[in-house]
Symmetry: D2
Subunit: 412 residues, 4 copies
């Protein structure tokens, strides 16, 4: 039995679905309902939409005598699948006080039960298995969004509420930054193992890389603070034109969740609440604009996604907590589990890319424009979700994800 089929087991299904509930457990029904910006969704909506995915793409197709949990949910919890039909307007997801959180939890329970029955009846079916597996990886993506979206919501509140009540300890000193060289040449890029991957990681194909070097770890808050204090946010020459527009018109003066205290000190809003800025931890919640400007300031650059993947191919995959931790150890550190790492690569199709037919094919391909690839994984990425060929993508201005920065430069 291969890994894909294993992931599509009843136990795997239960584990992933349960994890989503655990993530929402510290939140009240009110917390789960509100939407702080069009890009972020309410937690309740995530709970329902991930369920909708199984109901719409699996039960509707395979369940004998299928009847929807609620006929209106097909529209209410459709995210962006034009092939499915109408969608509730994204910016109004936070106005759905009904169905209540309890009704959504009942929706989850009922769909879970029906999926379990279907799995029992059909077994590791060649049609069902890939869709189940896609549904679980899809749910894991929303698990990360639950944390980043609720963080954004809580950050709007002047009370700075904490998601997690555990204390947030100061990090040990970060390992010093070193440059790790790679020879380049003709390399193969894209998913290779037999396990699951998204369609955008295929086909595996050949690319030519010049010799390059990667920084051994992510840029820290302490390093980024030097950029701030050196006038980084007031020096147009360091910025891409579109980045400078954002800095000027939106009055950016520091990373997204940094705050100046009344005492003159720097603080950072985290899922543990507002804490003193920890200089040893990685700078995070950076836009691509800020990542690129910082790289310019140092004379380095961002890696391409192929450079990153080639370098990361053989490294162990770590899982993080609710905030990025400081780097430790030698070699290429912090590839996974701390911050997604901006690359200079625009998100586009690999040569020969073909999305799946039908609505499910809207998953990745239609977003391949004006977005940039991030590699690795973050502290909010669920265990088992990351891999070397994984291509995360966001617009260059996005700041509400756990996005950080690893430097690169030319030369072997």
């Amino acid at each position: 039995m291969n890994r894909a089929a294993e992931f599509a087991s009843v136990a795997a299904y239960d584990a992933v679905r349960r994890r989503t509930l655990e993530l929402s457990a510290p939140l009240s029904a009110e917390d789960c309902c509100a939407q702080s910006m069009p890009d972020a969704s309410p937690v309740k909506w995530h709970l329902a939409h991930t369920t909708w995915f199984f109901e719409t793409f699996i039960l509707e197709r395979f369940e004998p005598g299928f009847r929807p949990f609620h006929p209106a949910f097909r529209v209410l919890f459709n995210s962006y699948y034009n092939g499915i039909g109408a969608k509730h307007p994204r910016p109004q997801r936070g106005l759905l006080t009904r169905p209540s959180l309890d009704e959504v939890l009942a929706y989850r329970a009922q769909v879970d039960e029906r999926i379990a029955r279907l799995m029992a009846e059909r077994g590791a079916d060649a049609q069902l298995t890939p869709l189940l597996e896609l549904g679980l990886h899809h749910e894991q993506q929303h698990q990360e969004l639950i944390l980043t979206d609720v963080k954004h919501l809580l950050a709007q509140n002047p009370l700075f509420p904490a998601y997690a009540t555990e204390p947030f300890a100061a990090a040990p000193p970060a390992a010093p930054l070193a440059w790790v060289p790679f020879e380049g040449g003709l390399v193969d890029i894209g998913h290779a193992s037999p396990g699951f991957c998204f369609d955008n990681e295929l086909p595996r194909h050949r690319e030519y890389l010049q010799p390059y070097q990667l920084a051994s770890r992510l840029v820290t808050n302490g390093e980024f603070l030097q950029f701030v204090e050196d006038g980084g946010y007031t020096t147009p020459a360091l910025w891409l034109s579109e980045g400078w527009d954002a800095v000027s018109t939106q009055q950016w003066e520091h990373p997204f969740y940094w705050r100046r205290g009344d005492d003159g000190g720097w603080y950072e809003f985290t899922l543990h609440g507002l804490v003193p800025l920890d200089l040893e931890r990685p700078a995070t919640h950076l836009s691509l604009y800020e990542a690129d400007a910082y790289a310019q300031w140092t004379g380095a650059r961002l890696p391409t996604e192929a450079e990153w993947e080639h370098a990361a191919a053989s490294h162990a995959i770590e899982t993080g907590a609710l905030h990025p931790a400081a780097a430790s150890g030698a070699g290429l550190a912090q590839l996974y589990g701390q911050c997604w790492q901006w690359t200079s690569s625009s998100y586009g199709p690999y040569p020969g890319f073909a999305p799946a037919p039908g609505a499910i094919g809207e998953y990745n391909g239609k977003f391949m424009l004006n977005q940039y690839v991030l590699r690795g994984s973050s502290c909010a990425t669920p265990a088992g979700h990351a891999r070397p060929s994984y291509r995360n993508f966001f617009p260059a201005h996005a700041r509400w994800q756990f996005t950080g920065l690893r430097l690169a430069r030319q030369g072997g």
Copy 2:
């Protein structure tokens, strides 16, 4: 003991405060937290702000050893009083998932207890009484907003949830429309009785009125439907220029809460849910633009606020339910308790108007521009809140209040 002091009694205080809780009782914490547009506030915010009013304008000033319930609430629940200081941004009230509804209810209970103690200690004090009374009338205004704001929120939901579960019966035929004549001449306008009034109803002063006539009742849905079917929304000549802009750019085709069913019939969203449009009940949720265009279409006009007040002076004040009812009986009907009635009068100061000194003076005066006066009261207005001199006011485009239309014309 005059009426004012009576209203400021412990029993009156308790009754008004309890009524607010009763109005929020059918709603979940989620319902109470969401904000459907910047003009509408969450129910939880109304519950807190009305409490803030007593805490800030009474306890903070009169309570010995005053300590706030929560230091952040002074900013969080300040609506628009620049004299008090900073304000949480109005469009972001719906993001305040904390404090929770339970904490806000605890806030209410504690402030109520402290107010009761203060009233017991000071008695019908000349300083305290007017502020208590203002606070209660203020709370009654928010009771009406609780209903109109939550109606707006529920209307955004494709499930069309009902606030009230009671059935909504068809109305009996509305009384026929008659014209009631008034001679005009020199009349006195403004509050006269010893009871409470807002500062904007004073000073009582003289105005000269030409002979005029008022319609005996409000315009009904049936009558307004004729306007719709006669091309009212596609005939620019009927509309004020700014009204036609709204119609054109926002694609208005009918009153705000009317909906066309899949069966081709007309429906109306009410606090009882979506119901077939009742042709005998008053047309409501009209903007001033729509009210004026309808009047143009009939060859009549809107009354001025002085015409309305002069006509209404000696009539009984009725209280309504959750939706306007059909007119019955002879004479000038439906003055109170069904729909606020648009007048052609811009909201401005009466001759010699002077607001109270200090922050409390921001209550009315600073809004005397680009708003229009509505007279009477609506089905959502609390009992005891209406009076002939009452001046409600909203911008001409506002459609989410229970706003209707009584015709007027020249001549005795």
Copy 3:
């Protein structure tokens, strides 16, 4: 022969039409084509639209065998008459580089010739005369707009070009401000003489006024500067709520055309170019927000339009130059020819107001909402255009007209 018929004479027609050309003479074709904001029109558009008015409302109706100068002009130069049909979008008037200025001048010449022929053929015809007269008063309104619109355009140019090359001399000291009392009582308001007036000045009707006082002259730059220096633009308590919004969001710190020089001194952009702020001349280009805030600061208020008209009824009407002059002499000065004077009166219909039937009836009535009345006339108002009953109107935020401020207060 009454004044109306006189104004509709060939000589009067020629004089008004010629004056429009004189006003555009100092401008290049480029100056005449550009549009600096949607509210302001290009001079070339004014030249064409005033001609369109005669062509559309007179020639099209009365000229035997009428053929338009150019079939597209009916749409291109229609301002806002829905009864005439489609309109070129207002914000795009500045993109009409064709027809050229020369073609528009040829359009004017041809229409003038045809109007002259029609006047010769029909004489002082009862149908033709009122329309001719209306067309000439309409053209005079656009003469004022030519000056205010081109001033706005030139003010956008960092070179601060002057419209007029004549030197701009310092004014003599303004007369001291005195209060002129009026008894009030029942007064008649509205146009009374046999001469021309717009429909919005009718019907003449009775109003009741309380005793009041008017300032003998307009507020000067020197006085307004004290308001600025006293923190007028940073004190919310002085402002109407909507005015404070404008101040805060648009960062208003002083009147519209005032500029701080690099030398720290105050300058004002005028049709004579940028000149040192003349403290003796009236403050002008004020919004109603600023006028009201200034009045609040002094403890006075703005007059109502009835107060103004009653006071001004018997005064001589003066004509100004390209910028307001300082007040001289005793009594009620500067009623006309310097700055339009904001009143607190919302622009609405007089009791019994009825617009003309057809498209021409769109002239005034449809704008009677959310605008405020200004009385008097300005330095840019053509000779012969002003009268005591004249009702000018603009939105409260408008700052590009020659709008100033005369104080009023209660009491005889």
Copy 4:
């Protein structure tokens, strides 16, 4: 003497500068002043800015005793060089009625004279020559923009004025579409010849290409019309997500300059005015969204920029007229001189890219984000400006350039 130095000769300078004047010759001063959208500049501004480039980057640096033509022009005609200092706001370029067109022509003449003197004095100087050459290529880019920007302006005018009075003949049938195969493998990309290139064409570097095929010619209007009639603009599955947003919110139904006639036929606005849509000529003024959707509809895709450059390397470079012509002949046709060809390649730095130091380095590098590369050249591109390695770039939504579409597909 190499080509670069040759281009920097007095004769080359004169020829390029004269060509700019020839392009503006058919236009009036009014035509040259207006600005139809923030992305497009007035012709007068182009005339001045290209002159400013020589004055600022050459005269200011090299001319002994340099004095500016006008001290304000340094700011007025700075496009986007933060290193030079302040800039007149881009959306307000059309409000600069002063300096007049005549003054700008005098500015050109004076700077030309001073440049000629400098060239005479210094000869083919190693510092001067690259800047002169850059200035001339810069001017050629603006020559193309003069045509596309004035086309956009004229298209806003309901009179549909023609830039060129020459008749516009129907094209002969386009050559049939064939697929031209390429083997791919390791190829070298980037500028190679000794002649001039922009910094973004360097360094020449190695890339790996899979086997691919290119269409022998551009997509024609006739072919694109089939896409329109097949519901291309109403089928979300064909579009990138961002493209579908544009289609939906901006109601796109056909290419930018296509118009439906009252006779039901298709027309196209061209520099020759409004003409019947010529089915044999290339579809042009396409956004990348439309190009990509068309390719999806056919089952093909857009080429990458490397695929295009590798294929085009050895082909002759043709120059076009004022509108794209139909394809003729065999082999890879219409590479140059008809329409810029969208590629799927995001505009980014080549490996090792380094912009020039100082303000001149803002020319290309800072725009390397959220723009896409177009290859070839258009009918509006000046003779001598195109080359195989040339990288044009625009945002995916841009439609006002002569942008067309060549299909590609996988396989040798």
